[in-house]
Amino acid sequence: MTDLTSMTIAEAKAGLANKSFTSLELTDAHLAAIEAARSLNAFVLETPDQARAMARAVDARIAKGEGGPLAGIPLGIKDLFATKDVRTTACSKILGNFVPPYESTVTSQLWRDGAVMLGKLNNDEFAMGSSNETSCFGPVVNPWRREGSNTTLVPGGSSGGSASAVAALLCMGATATDTGGSIRQPAAFTATVGVKPTYGRCSRWGIVAFASSLDQAGPIARTTRDAAILMRSMAGHDPKDTTSVDRDVPDYEAAIGKSVKGLKIGIPKEYRLDGMPVEIEKLWTEGAAWLKAAGAELVEVSLPHTKYALPAYYIVAPAEASSNLARYDGVRYGLRVPGRSIGELYESTRAEGFGDEVRRRVMIGTYVLSAGYYDAYYLRAQKVRTLIKKDFEDCFAKGVSAILTPATPSAAFGVGEKGGADPVEMYLNDIFTVTVNMAGLPGIAVPAGKDAQGLPLGLQLIGRPFDEETLFSLGEVLEQAAGRFTPPKWW
């Protein structure tokens, strides 16, 4: 039954509909795959009993012809999403064995549409990281390896568990979140498709917050079509999240295969970095050529404030995080390290509960918001943010429908290889992706090729606000041209 795990969601939907197999069979196949792939450390909690119960229930619904758009499709859930009665930790020790009595809006919409939960996926602690090495459950292993090498590679982060599990055929799709590239970068490192929707497209309610003005949930899947199918269920207005937008959710899948003829695609000159690997450069040119061949018009565009995006991001995101993470204080839930005074309890709990990277960002954030520094850092970063947003607006105002860039400045790297001495080395991973979060725009990462060592590389498409459909149409063109990439099974 190995075939059951290698199907796309679209194929599985068809198979379930014509009764080729049941959701329970599909679920069992994936549970077995998860069990066999524990060395990847993609799942931090497997929920087989719940998965089978959900699958049986949805099989009954399918039998009555009542399945939803995701009826019977087994998914993995990033551990940042609160799942009712199922441990949710954001992969931080400080949440300990926290079991929420509530379900996030995004996941509840997936269950409403018939999806089945296989378990909770590993991620960087509080989604802070670009390699999934900051998780309190340990790093996730990328199913991809360099040709002829056994070196363990990272899957990217923070949604490393989601990307690894989808690439390794452990689940048909996964939820993920993206604050500065946390969906798109791991997707690029694992040859999966990752979508960061427009800010406000998906509800943030019930998702452990990292940086509220940047966080956005989105799917990771194996094809552009599968990502579109998942997006439709995940998106939507939620009165419980004031920043979610009240707009109809389109049928994203309908955008797959739609002609891109005549669309103007921008190539931003500022994304051509010094010292960028030739392979990335080549991939980018090739991607542009594929879009051109499909009838799109390529134009060079300028996003002049791009170089300020990363430093500004590393002020805004930690500032918000320092405040968002203040609630983890050992008083009401999660880890508590007792102390003789409340101050001591706070200090011991937070010192014990937070990992290095989280502590670093809490300290940076506290610093940039402090009296005397606020104007120089936070306020200035917000001004930069406005300028970055304007760069994109100017570009779109000239008739550009989407912007094509590399997704990452390199392919996946080895565990422990980066950021050990200088955290900025790790932060540079987000160089092509943070601008999108700063501007609140939608972005998609699509696998587009391999480097000389056989590791996947991805391209990114950036769209106009709430125009995810165009990204799906363009992503499909790249996918058709590049083909699909599956890692050889070694685990």
């Binding site: 004031t242 405040s323 409340i342």
Partner: protein
């Protein structure tokens, strides 16, 4: 300096007179069924932690959603303070660690409050008024409550209040003495209660004040201020200011300097003591709350609320003076508390002849009813004499059925026994005698029995009063005093 600021009572020190400069931050709990950013109940006195939503407890992934009712109440309050209403305002996070604040920050408004500058006219002794400027009003979350007396080794926290909406109303430093300060809080409380935007219950903590006090030589530069936190009694506010001003004057006159600090008032000792110094002050790291969009509404929303504003104490007072002919003092007493004004207006509504009896009604409400309520320590809302009963009593006086003196007896009966005043007058024979022949008989008898007094009165007409007294006494107070006067004058030939 604000030109409308009223000079206050100066304090005499060893080096001469000192002026006190006071500004206040009033925290008023918004009248609303649910909290500022969650659906949890705001009911007072529930079991600890029984009114706590997931948002209030700051569970992971929870998000605040603004309660529109609280916004409406804040706008109404701003209109009641004649203040600028800001169509766009921003919620900020005020970051600090304490177990009464589960989020680790309070959602407040820092740079862009919902209400800007306004003013309040306050009543001082002797019918004088002073104008106190309002700097701003903003919405913010209340904190929870720590319980330190439940365990020898631990403190407990009750989050029922946590997230309840407060309006922080910040005055300009326009207040110049304790009397003005007390009058300001009294007036603000009255306005809030008229508007129905805060119940003003200081004992339950619905209204608390932080008082900033500094001293200076009259007209001199401002001194360093100290903030006295969390005052929940108007009298304590007065005491604290008096104490604090004298403390500061003594320090300065002894050659010392005032440390900017936060102080607490100890009502038992009647003194303020240091709570934390400026150096220990928190850095709250305010920044706009990214979970909330800026709060925006239209001018027509504000206009709609303005059209629904109830009559406020100042307007009501002006109307009482103008249309009822009441003295400013009486009108001020009647409007000071919303309930008193409601009572008085219900009495007015019960009067058959308003033109004739309104002033009389005001006198009766102020002197007889308020006097009696005060003496018995009762509230107007629990008055044993209803507005309808009092209107009936006033009507009986006005139409001449009973005299003012009898009316007091009648009031006493209604107070203790209840009943319809008109029926009581009939049943107990309390009607004023206006039958001239009956009164004449009494007058004649008294004149006949007191020839010496007649002689005296004829010589000195002022002494006729003795006869009036005698007639009233014999008639059991029921004789119409005017009729008695007229008859006596005729019979005595004066």
């Amino acid at each position: 300096m604000n030109v409308s600021v009223k000079p206050g009572k100066l304090i005499k020190g060893q080096t001469g007179d000192w002026e006190v400069v006071i500004g206040m931050e009033i925290h008023a709990q918004v009248t609303s069924k649910s909290k500022l950013f969650s659906g949890a109940s705001t009911e007072f006195g529930g079991e600890p932690n029984s009114h706590v939503s997931l948002v209030d407890a700051a569970m992971p992934g929870m998000l605040p959603v603004i309660n529109e009712e609280c916004v409406r109440q804040a706008v109404l309050t701003g209109l009641g303070l004649n203040a600028q209403i800001n169509l766009r305002s921003v919620f900020d996070r005020k970051n600090y660690f304490y177990p009464d604040s589960p989020q680790g920050y309070q959602i407040s408004q820092y740079k862009s409050p919902i209400v800007g500058e306004g003013e309040v006219v306050v009543e001082l002794d002797g019918g004088k008024t002073a104008t106190v400027g309002i700097e701003r009003l903003h919405l913010e979350q209340d904190a929870g409550k720590l319980l330190h007396d439940q365990s020898p080794t631990m403190s407990y926290v009750d989050l029922n209040r946590c997230g309840v909406a407060l309006m922080e109303i910040v005055s300009k430093p326009d207040i110049r003495d304790a009397e003005q300060a007390k009058a300001y809080v009294t007036k603000l409380r009255s306005i809030l209660r008229y508007l129905g935007t805060c119940d003003g219950d200081m004992e339950k903590g619905s209204l608390r004040a932080d008082v900033n006090v500094s001293v200076r030589k009259p007209g001199g530069p401002l001194g360093t201020r100290c903030e006295i936190k969390n005052m929940n009694s108007i009298n304590f506010i007065g005491q604290a200011i008096e104490y604090e001003a004298r403390r500061q004057i003594e320090i300065i006159e002894d050659g010392g300097a005032i440390d900017q600090e936060t102080r607490l008032f100890d009502p038992n000792k009647g003194e303020t003591r240091s709570m934390r110094s400026k150096e220990e002050a928190h850095d709250y790291r305010y920044f706009p709350d990214p979970d909330l969009l800026p709060l925006e509404f239209t001018q027509s929303y504000v206009d709609e609320l303005r059209s629904k504003l109830p009559e406020l104490p100042d307007q009501k007072k002006a109307r009482f003076i103008e249309s009822l002919g009441l003295s400013p003092y009486d009108a001020g007493v009647l409007v000071a508390e919303r309930e008193s004004a409601v009572f008085f207006e219900t009495v007015l509504a019960g009067l058959a002849d308003k033109a004739r009896d309104s002033k009389l009604a005001a006198n009766w409400v102020i002197n007889e009813l308020f006097g009696r309520l005060n003496k018995e320590g009762q509230e107007i809302t629990g008055s044993p004499v209803s507005a309808a009963q009092l209107a009936a009593i006033v009507g009986l006086i006005g139409e001449g059925t009973i005299s003012g003196k009898i009316a007091k007896d009648l009031f006493e009966i209604v107070w203790t026994e209840g009943g319809d005043p008109r029926e009581l007058v009939d049943a107990r024979g309390m009607k004023q005698v206006t039958d001239l022949s009956a009164i004449e008989k009494v007058v004649d008898d008294i004149i006949a029995a007191n020839p010496d007094k007649v002689a005296q009165a004829k010589a000195k007409p002022q002494l006729a009063g003795w006869f009036v007294g005698q007639v009233m006494k014999q008639s059991g107070g029921k004789a119409n005093p005017q009729a008695v006067n007229d008859l006596l004058k005729a019979k005595l030939g004066i």
